[in-house]
Symmetry: C2
Subunit: 199 residues, 2 copies
Amino acid sequence: MMQHLFFAPAHITSNRWLQAFPSAQMSDVVPTRVGASDVVWLLLRDDLSFTHIKNLSSIGARVIAMTAIESPQEARRALEAGASGYVHYLAIPQVLEQVAQVVAAGGMWLGADLMRQLVLATARILPAVETPQADLSQLTSREKAVAELVAAGNSNKEVARELDITERTVKAHLSAVFAKLQVRDRLQLVLVLSNNTGA
Amino acid sequence: MMQHLFFAPAHITSNRWLQAFPSAQMSDVVPTRVGASDVVWLLLRDDLSFTHIKNLSSIGARVIAMTAIESPQEARRALEAGASGYVHYLAIPQVLEQVAQVVAAGGMWLGADLMRQLVLATARILPAVETPQADLSQLTSREKAVAELVAAGNSNKEVARELDITERTVKAHLSAVFAKLQVRDRLQLVLVLSNNTGA
DNA sequence: CTGCTTATTGTCCTTTAGTCCAATGGCGTA
DNA sequence: TACGCCATTGGACTAAAGGACAATAAGCAG
């Protein structure tokens, strides 16, 4: 069970942090007494931030860097300093939880953009960890087809035209998809299907 | 200027292929006379598909594997056979064009899920190719804040509450964002901001 | 034959999204 | 002082999204 600590100036917060981790602590001074069971969410501000990351990770804490403006240089710098994750500070709770889970398991978490760059930079495709796609497996083939078209940015009318069915049928399938995947609308469907980063 | 050729059974097509590449050719038999200026979009069906990929790439064609159901195993297999990309066959034209551009430039293109796995599997973070974020740079700070919250799955009401402004103001900012980023609604905003893969 | 699941479709309704037109105020610059 | 940009907000409107209730038909398993 990881203990979460958010280290950021008092005037820069997000109520999502407590939504994701109700028992998390807030601090506007760098924490010093932390260990392997702690996850420190550190808002990047200046060069000193990277020093904090280095110090915190060297004494065993898992550090996740939060940013207001994502950039590959900043991400790389945070990761090189020892951070295990790099995420926008306004990310939705689901993303924060996902980051925490990945990091708690010893993994690393980055947004899609940065991943793209990493993959393109990788000369060889490394053996991939298989992630279960349980969510999509519970959809019928027709639901899946509708979901994918919607997640690609299409309106119900466009999906209907593409699959040669009525808009009403599209809505019926979508409602079923929403219920099965536990999302409330097409916007969140997109996020779930793409494992989109909180922006 | 690359020549595009879609290799798939006659009854499995997508009108988006021709939307993305109006002069593309369609074929339900494996093409044999191809070269370095050709991009072959091959719909994965059976084990023979991977043999086709191997043969086509070995004679110089760039091959992009298309699938009906994305899976990491299939992706890895296609890439190991020599494919330069792996994408859903119903991907929207913009994605198809993006894939083509990346592949034409000698790069490799994968969906977000697969990238995640690759990054997690990568022991070291490789030097990243810097991609310009010109789009977001043209937004004002307030527009950016609204855009990010919407792209994270929030409704206009929720964004208004989060930023302590009215829903009307959120709509005003969103309209400006849509115009600047050349998207038509929040769904496509999500896709643009996350460089989401066509699903 | 029965029951279940899936696919499809309709009507009706409320809520949300997005656009058009309009306006005020603060701030920075010429 | 005047101008332009940004942030904010309102009213009014149309279109789209999503849900509730309802229905038929096909395929499959028991």
